[in-house]
């Protein structure tokens, strides 16, 4: 166990170093934008998997947590001109709180009822923002990027590296949860909540922990977005496409392990970016839909499951 942990953190360090080097070498702005989007989905899928993959609670509300994170940033920027770190921490806190609320819902709701309730969160949060003048309402709000902090040439490049950090922290958390007693408890909940409760698993505590951490990570993923685009509006921020992307990435990659959603999000989002550029935006959504259905029906354990099966049969 310890050996693989060393390997994991070395890998994380290498990924960060690659990101910093890439930022200074790549000049085409579009690649940054595409890679930033892919990273966002890696965080979202990883966060989704903590609740959906380990505990078996389907969350359709990823967009709500992501959007609340983004708009927490906007609020702090407009009200106090808060620095980036404060924005991210506050966004994680607020979305985590929302996640805690969603966790309380699991007291009474399971399966499809919980899933639909999380869709409700998206619409309610979106409606609140649309009617909140200070946050720009339905028309959105334009933000001015502050000057970049020295080693970086532009603010966007800095945000890119920050996003890589968020990804690594997110994966680290997901990995810790998976391998610790928390993950074992959550898997017990997924298999049978009654049996878990009877065997002394603190189901409520674990579910609240999972929803809070998952929500907080999604919020953190949304926090740098307003500054990255320098413009936010509610309809594309609280868009169901974020929920779809997170869920589909985890399902396609494989929900049992932390690596599944990472692989799924990297492949799916990259494919989406390629399809968007080469064919059309509609086709990119169609690809997600078809892949999702095919994987759910034919490969329930995702890409990771397929690879495992291949290895075993050899």
């Amino acid at each position: 166990m310890r050996k693989t942990s060393v390997g994991f953190w070395v890998g994380a360090g290498v990924a960060l170093a690659v990101a910093v080097v890439a930022v200074n070498l790549i000049t085409n702005e579009y690649y940054f934008f595409a890679a930033y989007t892919v990273l966002t989905f890696v965080v979202l899928a990883t966060a989704w998997n903590i609740l959906g993959g380990y505990a078996g609670y389907v969350n359709f509300g990823t967009a709500a947590f992501f959007g609340v994170g983004a708009y927490t940033s906007v609020l702090l920027i407009k009200a106090f001109g808060a620095p980036l770190l404060v924005q991210i921490l506050a966004a994680a806190a607020v979305s985590g709180l929302l996640g805690f609320g969603a966790g309380l819902l699991t007291l009474r709701l399971r399966g499809i009822f919980f899933a639909i309730a999380t869709v409700a969160l998206i619409v309610i949060m979106e409606t609140v923002v649309v009617n909140w003048r200070f946050l720009g309402g339905a028309t959105g709000v334009q933000l001015l990027r502050p000057p970049p902090i020295p080693p970086f040439e532009s603010y966007q490049k800095m945000l890119f590296v920050v996003m890589v950090l968020i990804v690594l922290v997110g994966i680290g958390i997901a990995r810790y949860i998976e391998t610790s007693w928390i993950g074992r408890g959550l898997r017990a909940i997924r298999d049978s909540e009654e049996a878990a409760e009877c065997s002394g698993v603190p189901t409520l505590k674990l579910k609240l922990l999972a929803t809070t951490v998952s929500g907080a990570l999604m919020g953190a993923a949304g926090a740098p977005m307003p500054m990255y685009l320098s413009f936010v509006e509610p309809f594309s921020t609280f868009n169901l496409n974020y929920s779809i992307g997170a869920l589909a990435s985890a399902m396609i990659g494989g929900t049992g392990t932390w690596i599944g959603p990472v692989v799924g999000a990297l492949l799916l989002s990259t494919l989406q970016q390629v399809v968007t550029v080469t064919i059309s935006n509609e086709m990119n959504v169609l690809v997600v839909g078809i892949l999702l259905v095919v994987f759910v029906v034919a490969a329930p354990d995702g890409i990771v499951g397929l690879i495992k099966r291949l290895r075993r049969s050899r």
Binding site: G111, A115, I116, T127, M251, L286, V296
Partner: protein, 290 residues
Amino acid sequence: MFSLELLAEAILFGILLGAFYAAVSVGLSVAFGLLDVPHVAHPAVMVLAAYATFVLGQYGLDPIVAGIVLMPLFFVFGMAIYRFYYESFEKRGSEAGVRGLAFFFGVALIIEVGLIIGFGVDQRMVQAAYIGESLRIGDMRVPMRMLVAFGVALVLTTGLAIYLSRTFTGRAIKAVAQDEPALRLMGANPVRIKQWAFGLATGVTALAGAMLIIVGPVEPQLDRVYIGRTFAVVVLAGLGSMSGTVAAGMILGISESIVLSMFGASWAPAVAFGLLLIVLGLRPQGLFGR
């Protein structure tokens, strides 16, 4: 500002809207309420039917007639969906929950994008004599299209309620919902009954789709709003209760209409979901739950 006349008008409009909401939800009430299929693609199927009505309308077919023509087609379509769902998930048993949901989510997405690719993102509408006309009652103006939808909605929900309680197959469907193993012991095949019921639910949804395009213009992503509305109605009604569906539709219609006239259109989308969250939190078995 606020006045009694305005409130009366809001309530009247809410009742008409409510019957319409009940009609768009009966299909889901059968599919999800009775059969326990996590059919989140229900609103997408309805929007698909609305577009099919639009296409038939291009050939001069009246939208209601078009909806009726589409019903058998969607019946078969629904049976096919259920068969596929059964073979892939229900039959294998374990973990159907998460993957079944994801499956229907994917189906909804494919329908949505298919419509965008086929028809573009522009709004579409149909022509008929009763669309655009309105009826005057005193100072109030009631749009004819709402009255037509109201009438069709009542016929549809009553018809379905009678079918479920009076006919042999209808009772068999209810029996499947109550106790599937018992039905199997009686020598009936629950899968075939469920397949039939799901087909029926989808067929009814075809007519609901026709009404959708009568009531207002449609666009491919309209199903996203109706996820909240249809599930709110079905859950509020208590799963699978037909009379409950009508009552719940009315409650949603009237609440939406009052919020619309008092706070403005920007708050209306949250009504259905707010109502849904409240019901799920306080009384998950619904108002008329089994």
